[in-house]
Symmetry: C2
Subunit: 280 residues, 2 copies
């Protein structure tokens, strides 16, 4: 990990991830169930309200930083002076070094030309996709893919306790699990990892992004923007996710469950292990 | 079904749901896989651009009508004169009878005070939640719950072919499957069903809403707005989904898989079958 040039002042305001409620099971018997937290978090930048995120609240500071990064409302983590989460009023207050230039114009533009796409911010993102160059000199061996799937499986997750969340993880090629974030929305989990990478000065070029969720256009675009050449999912993918991955030259693997997977594109970075892949 | 007073002119522009791509499997062998479609669809109301939805495109006209309904940009289906989908330019053109009053103000307000919440439109919706009255004189027998789960299971789904989609269904208490919609986003699937209900003049008061997806605050709020007293999911739920369901007095059932389920709230509308629930 490179040394960050600048790290904003941050609160450490994670919320409890799960709550216990009493339910009735199929026999009419009382049964305790754990459910995932979900909290509104309204983001203010220099006291101007931006939007309200619904989040599990496990990594709210990183989520807000990553949201601003992925929406490209902030160009560099150096611009962020502080992020303060206050759950008493469900507010995330971001302070910048010198104010965001054209914030009003950016927000206006987003509403008018792309809107929020019900979970997908789109228009502007596509415009820049062709400028992205992913590294071509990194390889993912089949044994590494299997090892990282095993690391995810062993990781303690809110999903196992309460369901209703998606998980995203960032791995080095060792593979070492660098970050693991769960949230009620896939978009939040990927944004939180983008925030952690910025805060820690981590480059995406030699990393693997893993998600339990589907590989839609938005997930692929965000991974590409973070400069990550490898995208792995337990789930399937959409046509547009596939087309964008091919266009940016990403190595994309879906349906990675146990020893099975499908390599959708970017096979030049994947190394089959002759012995492993021949096992039936 | 009641007779609709008014039905807008609609195109019938469903897109193919799945596409075949060639992948490499874990043995390095070529393998054909079906993937779900995903297309941008930019919504214009009286030629003013509203936002871009990312959709499977199975029921685009109903999706757009339901989106306008659930965002409360339109108060009644009577206000909608026509919806024209043109996939050559990925556009949905909505024409209203007499123009939308305060559309600019509504869009502005949403951006500034609630934003899009990354898949969750929130602020305004909560304000009105206490005005919702769900019927108390309808019952869901345990046998009906099991029968509808079986109907969903047997239904031909894109999920089975290609994954990467969520499904939503509307049932009568018979139970009869009235609508079944899959889309790349849960929010789209529920919006499309809201649109179909408006177009066909279907009331939610004696219906069951089923979803394969999680019961987050947004799903519960939307079902409540449609006046539907029963919400059933194969998945789990979030804390805020639970709290809102309790607040509006909804009967909410989660983790409904095979003969198992958890009744989270609204048990006064649920009828355990003594014989069925005693079976172990």
């Amino acid at each position: 990990m490179s040394t960050p040039r600048h790290r904003p002042e941050l609160t450490q305001a994670a919320r409890p991830a799960t709550f216990v409620v009493t339910t009735l099971n199929e026999h009419g018997e009382p049964s305790e169930a754990q459910i995932a937290g979900e909290h509104p978090l309204t983001v203010y930048v220099d006291k101007q309200e931006i939007l309200t995120l619904m989040t599990l609240g496990a990594a709210p500071e990183a989520l807000v930083v990553g949201y601003l990064r992925n929406q490209r409302l902030v160009d560099s983590v150096d611009e962020i002076k502080a992020v303060q989460i206050d759950w008493e009023v469900n507010a995330a207050s971001v302070y910048t070094q010198s104010g965001l230039v054209d914030l009003a114009a950016k927000m206006e533009h987003r509403t008018k030309t792309t809107g929020c796409g019900q979970g997908t911010v789109f228009g502007d993102l596509m415009a820049d996709i062709d400028d992205i160059k992913l590294p071509t000199d990194v390889k993912l061996p089949q044994t590494t893919l299997y090892a990282l799937a095993e690391l995810v499986r062993k990781h303690e997750t809110i999903y196992k306790q309460a369901g209703a969340v998606h998980g995203c993880a960032l791995f080095s090629l060792t593979p070492e699990l660098l970050y693991f974030v769960e949230d009620v929305g896939r978009h939040n989990a990927v944004d939180a990892i983008a925030g952690m990478m910025w805060l820690d000065g981590v480059d995406g070029g030699d990393k693997i992004f893993y998600t339990t969720g589907r590989l839609t256009s938005e997930m692929v675009i965000k991974a590409a923007q973070m400069g990550i050449p490898f995208l792995v999912s337990r789930s399937g993918l959409t046509q547009m996710g596939y087309e964008i991955a091919k266009r940016v030259g990403m190595t994309m693997i879906g349906r990675a469950v146990n020893k099975h997977f499908l390599l959708f594109c970017g096979e030049e970075r994947f190394e089959y292990d002759t012995k492993v892949s021949a096992e039936r």
